[in-house]
Symmetry: D2
Subunit: 117 residues, 4 copies
């Protein structure tokens, strides 16, 4: 597509919520909670896997995870929209900060993993 696909989803979700009068439910707090619930539905598919790769998922599991990843993105887009955050710009900016925090030539061990701070 020749436009931002994140803006496209923002516009689609705005219309979807407007047509259903859901704005009153969509406070940032509620959207953050819904986002965490959807992420857990993704995680549920992986919790008992040994290798932790998608190869351990059957076709039904892979199809379900695909839709749950979609739900995560849709709530993330709506939450960012309510908070007036441009997700792509914020992500590029955050990657720049991460690059300073974790230089490519640093020791490549667990300590080099992004923390969640």
């Amino acid at each position: 597509m020749n436009t931002s696909d994140l803006h496209d989803l923002r516009d689609r979700t705005r219309q979807f919520a407007r047509e259903r009068d859901w704005a009153r439910f969509h406070t940032p707090k509620n959207l953050a909670m819904a986002l965490s619930v959807e992420v857990a539905e993704v995680a549920e598919h992986f919790q008992w896997l040994q290798s932790g790769t998608g190869d351990e998922l059957d076709a039904a599991g892979r199809a379900a995870v695909r839709h749950e990843l979609a739900d995560v993105l849709l709530y993330l887009v709506q939450l960012a929209d309510k908070l007036e955050v441009d997700l792509h710009a914020a992500a590029v900016e955050k990657m720049g900060l991460n690059a300073l925090k974790y230089p490519p030539n640093a020791a490549r061990d667990l300590a080099g993993q992004p923390s969640s701070d």
Copy 2:
């Protein structure tokens, strides 16, 4: 931009992980776990709010949330990449299913809210 900004982030995160040799850590299972941790860091800002709107956040809180939303997107993009899921296509498809499940003219109450099923 005149390309997909989700594909742009996918390419940026691939390069970032490659430069740090992080592929061995980035199993779908680990990325799903990291995604849930980042989402909780977003939720933490809203957990005690009364109105649940961003207006209750101070400037520092809003800046922090912006970067945590970015972290959520970055892990989501990496997880989708490992699972070979096109996030925009999956989101549009899921919205189509949601539209069938929640017709615009249906009763507009809590029952009309998307479940997490």
Copy 3:
């Protein structure tokens, strides 16, 4: 009961897992993931509520939440057992630290809420 009910649950979950040969699945990492999934199932019941009180839940919702709280406790007990953590002792100790961090006479505002640090 005249014994620790947390130790009682620890013993019951040990036997339950042993009878099903589930020890191989129950690494602390997997149990932590399962715990987060169960907590999300609790949160799901509250995500769209206005008042956020249990009064907004119907009888079926209250019964479901009761069992999901049970699931959270059961995974928490199993995770603590694997990590050799005595939950009651750890909780009493943590409350002591919280009491120092949040003195009763401190300003009683949002800033006085426990952080998640």
Copy 4:
């Protein structure tokens, strides 16, 4: 101790919140959100581990996890208290249902794992 240690923690958390006038913040919805945030802080310690066992944690990590498990229990106890759920009774009841769902002699594979349904 010769009383229920879960009831002991319930009584301690009631007094702690009362002394700080935190009842107004402690709606079930907010407590469910706080619970999910604390669980993520536990999960954060395990997200990049290879074996997923506590052995990969250093002493500081183990001490931190111990306190985060305590935080999870403290919010769980407070949430159950608000919803008038007796956690031990609910857990024993849920284990009875799980025993019917997963008989000891059933096939012992991933399918035998408790789902999060």
